[in-house]
């Protein structure tokens, strides 16, 4: 079974965001695999370790530097990669069209991806890919079992946990609590350098959403800060919560 994992390169979640010429500056920012996608990579590698998957292919759409994200996934244990060259400003529709085109050529049995990117938080692309390819999908999974041409997925749902069964091929998106991604070993990093990565151009598509303005949230004025004996501090805070915030005590 061939498993394909879509990964996106994002800013480190500890990164401070600054604007330059109306755009988000990536100067000095550490770029990582989107943490939700990293979990999908780990999930795919574990399927291979359990002899369910035979090959794990990484696909990333983005600028040249997205190659680093692919190499990291290969160092974790994936077999080969595909970089779909695309402007980093592509919207969700363009991204999904480009990835779906690359996926179609690979004809995988299972497509994994993170359910959301930690930076733009749009959570659309895996579902859009499934629609383009005419495949079932399940989002936000915390576990998967593959047997008899079916994927049984446990996923986070509104107000509970859901168990859903779909036939494969299917598009499955991961929640971070699915697993704990491994760190690439030194051996893995060395091997990753030799693993094949193909580069293809993105399929053309028109953007559906236009960014008209980027801004930083308004900076806030300094609040109250007290350093007192715990009894006094708790009393002062309690008074403030009652009088200023008007909290209700149940």
């Amino acid at each position: 079974m061939k498993v394909l994992v879509c990964v996106k390169q994002t800013f480190d979640t500890e990164a401070k965001i600054e604007l330059k010429d109306g755009k988000i500056s990536d100067a000095g920012i550490n770029l990582i695999i989107n943490p939700y996608d990293e979990v999908a990579v780990e999930g795919a590698i574990q399927l291979k370790e359990k002899n369910i998957a035979t090959e794990v292919v990484i696909v990333s759409a983005g600028a040249d530097k997205a190659m680093d994200a692919i190499r990291t996934a290969l160092a974790m244990g994936a077999d080969r990669g595909i970089l779909v060259k695309q402007d980093s400003a592509a919207d969700e529709f363009q991204r999904a069209v480009a990835l779906a085109e690359a996926i179609k050529a690979e004809n995988p049995d299972l497509i994994l991806a993170g359910h959301v990117a930690a930076h733009d938080g749009s959570s659309q692309v895996p579902t859009r890919i499934a629609e383009i390819l005419g495949l079932p999908h399940v989002n936000v999974i915390t576990n998967i079992e593959i047997a008899g041409g079916k994927a049984t997925c446990t996923s986070e749902a509104d107000g509970g946990t859901q168990v859903t069964e779909v036939t494969i091929p299917a598009v499955i998106s991961s929640q971070v609590s699915w697993n704990e991604p491994r760190y690439p070993s030194m051996k893995g990093i060395m091997q990753a350098k030799k693993k094949p990565v193909a580069t293809v151009d993105a399929a053309a598509a028109d953007a559906k959403v236009k960014i008209i303005e980027l801004a930083l949230p308004p900076s806030k004025t300094a609040g109250i800060k007290i350093e007192e004996d715990p009894d006094v501090a708790a009393a002062k805070l309690g008074d403030w919560m009652k009088n200023t915030v008007k909290v209700e005590v149940k």
């Binding site: 800013f11 979640t13 500890e14 990164a15 401070k16 965001i17 604007l19 988000i24 943490p35 969700e92 529709f93 930690a118 733009d120 938080g121 749009s122 959570s123 659309q124 579902t127 859009r128 499934a130 989002n139 049984t152 986070e156 509104d158 107000g159 509970g160 946990t161 859901q162 168990v163 069964e165 971070v176 953007a207 959403v209 236009k210 960014i211 008209i212 303005e213 980027l214 801004a215 949230p217 609040g223 109250i224 800060k225 007290i226 350093e227 715990p230 009894d231 501090a233 708790a234 009393a235 805070l237 309690g238 008074d239 919560m241 009652k242 915030v245 909290v247 209700e248 005590v249 149940k250």
Partner: protein, 323 residues
């Protein structure tokens, strides 16, 4: 153009508050507002939407809609959009809302602004504000494909009651069993006496400074006194003191309560990103240099394990006085 549609988020007839928030906001666009409710035995819910100004309520019922499933819901909505041509369709930014919105948007080959915290919709165009990088930046986007589509974050729009006609419209059922590609095997309802993080008016969170499950217990006591949702920073999740679904931050839940109380949380940037939208932020932390103090409206330098129980006692006194 047949105005703005609000897709009703409900499970077993329990309607999510965000549905009413969307109806209230949609009213301000000056065009017709409709609620769209799909499910099994849901017609009885229709009068609820009229209370928040719905001019029309589209009611679609059938066994195929008994459990939320993307395929049937998308097929139904796509057929209805074709028939009635709404100007805009709004969904809640819940797990179901984003799942449905994304697949429907791709089927119609239109744009979708997800997790919007503000919206302005006119004929053929929507302008939405999205909090990106988990709130570290704001992105204003324009969606001019038809219909205009977005998913809306819970708690960002004020509720405004307004009498609407609530005229029930019953579109033809367009979805069939053949549209269903997900088989729901089980649904385990999370049993909690506390509100959900993303919808709560007060959130109380515990972090590393709680030092262990005992420290989390005092945080829980404060949360319950305030009728608050319970959350945690990554440290308390990774230590196993709290379940992952309670993580607040860039890789967890983004919250926007009226009051956020951080107990023993230093305020790593990825945590602050998830709480920035809170109206009032309080922190109790023993490191006076902790970054959370810069973000907080009220900060107490002190050991959460010591201060939090005393705060709970103090607040209990107010309750006794009021009684």
């Amino acid at each position: 153009m047949a105005g703005t549609w609000v897709f009703v988020e409900q499970r077993d007839g329990n309607i999510r508050k965000v549905t009413y928030e969307m109806l209230s906001k949609a009213k301000s666009f000056g065009d017709e507002v409709s609620a769209v409710v799909i499910g099994k035995n849901v017609e009885g819910l229709a009068p609820e939407f009229a209370k928040y100004g719905a001019d029309k309520v589209y009611v679609v019922e059938g066994d195929v809609f008994a459990n939320y499933n993307t395929g049937a819901y998308v097929a139904q909505l796509a057929a209805m959009i074709k028939e009635y041509s709404p100007n805009a369709v709004l969904f809640a930014h819940t797990f179901n809302g984003r799942d449905l919105g994304s697949r429907l948007a791709q089927k119609l080959e239109v744009g979708l602004a997800t997790d919007a915290i503000d919206a302005e919709i006119s004929a053929g165009k929507g302008v939405f504000t999205r909090a990106i990088y988990a709130g570290k930046a704001l992105s204003k986007v324009e969606v001019a494909t038809s219909p205009v589509m977005a998913t809306i974050r819970a708690g960002v729009f004020e509720l405004a009651e307004a009498a609407g006609a609530g005229a029930v419209v019953k579109p033809a059922v367009a979805a069939t069993d053949a549209d269903v590609y997900q088989t729901v095997k089980d649904f385990i309802v999370t049993v909690s006496s506390r509100p959900e993080l993303t919808e709560a008016e007060v959130v109380v969170s515990g972090g590393r400074g709680c030092k262990g499950p005992e420290g989390i217990k005092v945080v829980e006591q404060l949360a319950d006194l305030l009728g608050a949702a319970l959350g945690g920073s990554r440290a308390s999740i990774d230590s196993g003191w709290l379940g992952h679904e309670l993580q607040v931050g860039q890789t967890g839940k983004v919250v926007n309560p009226n009051l956020y109380v951080a107990c023993g949380i230093s305020g790593a940037i990825q945590h602050l990103a998830g709480v920035n939208a809170s109206k009032v932020k309080v922190v109790i932390n023993n490191d006076p240099e902790a970054p959370f103090f810069k973000a907080a409206d009220y900060g107490v330098v002190g050991d959460a394990f010591e201060v939090v129980p005393k705060l709970t006692e103090k607040l209990k006194e107010f309750k006794a006085q009021n009684a």
